[in-house]
Subunit: 411 residues, 2 copies
């Protein structure tokens, strides 16, 4: 594919299909980070970049950067990730990288250098599907990785993260070196699929993303008294599963009341046999909201509810912290630019928060950030059924291109 | 221990302690059926029986019978089981066998033969803890074992039941031969610990057992739609865990309303991760009642509740049958005899159904049957903490002895 002077969203869609064919299988995409398929996906990207007049570099965290020098040192960055979950979809992450590549092609082929400099980044290990640490590359650049924790991470075969990433030129003691990449960055823009059903439900192809939600994750252990299912009268039971059940239902109401989301994703019982009242029931709680105050209120209510649900069944409950990230509200001016682009392409200004995390969540901590969403058919993602129509992909690519152009040529 | 003419419940308690010392460990009793510890427990029993003028035989199902001929061929049987769960208590099953041994000693030492013949039986594999088929020996005698199912059973190490029991002289194709043992049986009496908290809660040492409860066990699969915990709005979810939670709470109310017991003992979710709405939640249901009509009503209500709980969350539910046994109401005359004995020993006639199954559940299908319970401290059983005070054990043994005497010398 030779680059030409005009931005061609259809070419980006064709590139996405090529990528899917070369790094997918019957179960879906398999560009798991730090594996040969992921290396192959990046080789495809490097091949395309090699035809352009750009500087390509890999940073200390394994992120690939392609720079196009503009008239000023001010840098506009676009990007996303080529890595996927083990049996993932063809668009999650790839859309933003290939969309950014297409923008880069058009800028590189333009007769004039852009006013600002421009970079495309392919972030390393956004999914964290292998070592359970998502946003690896973007967090490294922002400086929010905890090296002591990274050192202990292993995949399910027992391979340690430091050893595996070293095979890809990444040395965790040297990660901090990549933080210089953010000098001069004035804007970060990312195109991504929604991975949820909201846009489709609205009958829309694309939307304006206002930020990424804050998340609270806890593990709850309800403790009662294990007992024989036949010999312990109902009135004398201390049934931890019943306590958990009360909690799960009330937690859902908390999510609804605050217009956030709350989820109990997994449950296990001890002794966990058909003939015993569960003495211990462990569940997880995930709650998300775009507003920090609302999230804090939800968390407080959930904590109180867990205690009252436990008490109602003669049980106790203990909490174990799993994960926490605050809401990341995107930059007002950059979101306005995305809003104008969406309006121009699809004739509306529909906006929504992202319920999933993205590399943009890390970038938003330190630089002006915004995102464009395309819809996801049936809201599906992280599965081979993940899909978006060509029409809506082209809409997303076109709006993204317009917003980037406003950022690189502001004057 | 030489037998003497007087029934001595304290000797029975001493024998129980000896058994516990020789076949227990730091984690509790370990007389798992078809293992060396179980063989050792039975060797102790045979040792004691060898000092008495009785005929000892092992039947085709591995049950040990000790016969004392009376003046008539009519046969009164007492028994229970020496086998235990892997880390069990010292009294579950053993109390009935050693209590029966003590009765046998006193009958054998009496100057006159009893009016009716008498047999002590040590049932094989009551617990079913190794091959998941409880009441093995008593079901064989009654003829309710399914040989085709037995042939496929394996323990957790992959050993097949037919091969393991053959090492103990039991051949599953010849099991039916043991059914002749029930010819001439006019009464079956069993002494057992309650394994629940009811008697202790009443401040009583012993009680009259009215029968064993009927049981319905099902596996329920609630199916909704797996979804991303961050991107799927609450209003669009089909959350199978929430459906199960509604069911678990309403099932408990059904148990309370009917004065039966209902239990959800184990739950699992798919995909079963903190970040996903569970698309599938599987749980077990166990429900028990002493009255067949009440049990049927509970089952019908639970089925309806499962469907309405599923529908309330946009889910469906499917049922898989696990196990079913009807209530076994004990023989009126024999229960009256036990009632008189309990009244004589502890001054009350408190009666309760057994929420657990016993070999008596099988025997009650075909012969007049009754049971005596001693209490269980804190209702605990199937654990090394299982215990009953010597005072209450002696009460139980004494009442049991009296009821047996009424049966063997009715005139």
């Amino acid at each position: 594919m030779k680059s030409d002077t005009s931005f061609d969203p259809y070419r980006a869609v064709r590139d996405l299909r090529t990528l899917a064919e070369r790094t997918g299988g019957p179960d879906g995409s398999r560009r798991l980070c730090w594996t040969p398929e992921w290396v192959e996906a990046r080789a495809l990207l490097r091949e395309e970049l090699s035809t352009l007049a750009v500087e390509v570099e890999q940073d200390e965290a394994g992120n690939i950067w392609a720079y196009l020098r503009g008239q000023s040192d001010e840098l506009v960055v676009v990007g996303s990730h080529l890595d996927s979950v083990p049996a993932g979809g063809w668009l999650d992450g790839a859309l933003g990288v290939i969309g950014g590549l297409e923008v880069l092609r058009s800028l590189a082929a333009a007769p004039q250098r852009p006013q600002r400099s421009f970079a495309l980044v392919d972030w390393a290990d956004e999914e964290g599907a292998r070592f359970s640490r998502s946003l690896f590359g973007s967090a490294a650049v922002v400086g929010t990785l905890d090296i002591a924790i990274l050192r202990e991470l292993k995949d399910r075969f027992g391979n340690s993260l430091p050893e595996v990433v070293a095979e890809h030129g990444v040395h965790i003691d040297a990660l901090d070196g990549c933080r210089t990449r953010l000098a001069n960055v004035v804007a970060y823009l990312e195109l991504h699929i929604e991975q949820g059903p909201v846009l489709e439900h609205q009958g829309l192809g694309i939307g304006v993303v206002t930020g990424t939600v804050g998340i609270e994750r806890e593990r709850l252990t309800f403790t009662g008294q294990a007992a024989h299912a036949g010999t312990m009268p109902m009135s004398m039971r201390r049934d931890s599963l019943r306590a958990m059940s009360r909690f799960a239902l009330e937690l859902a109401e908390i999510g609804k009341t605050h217009s956030g989301v709350t989820t109990v994703g997994t449950v296990s019982c001890k002794p966990g046999v058909v003939t015993a009242v569960p003495g211990e029931t462990v569940c997880t709680m995930d709650m998300r909201h775009i507003d920090a105050k609302a999230l804090a209120a939800m968390f407080a209510e959930a904590t109180a509810t867990a205690h009252s649900a436990a008490a109602a069944e003669g049980c106790s409950v203990a909490f174990e912290h799993i994960f926490r990230i605050p809401p990341m509200i995107f930059d007002k001016n950059l979101v306005d630019s995305v809003r104008r682009a969406v309006k121009a392409v699809e004739g509306h200004e529909f906006e929504l928060p992202s319920g999933a995390l993205h590399d943009a969540s890390e970038m938003a901590r330190v630089v002006p950030t915004a995102m464009v969403f395309t819809n996801s058919i049936a809201g599906l993602s992280h599965t081979k059924e993940e899909d978006t129509t060509d029409e809506h992909l082209v809409m997303g690519l076109t709006a993204f291109h317009q917003a980037v152009l406003e950022a690189v040529n502001p004057g």
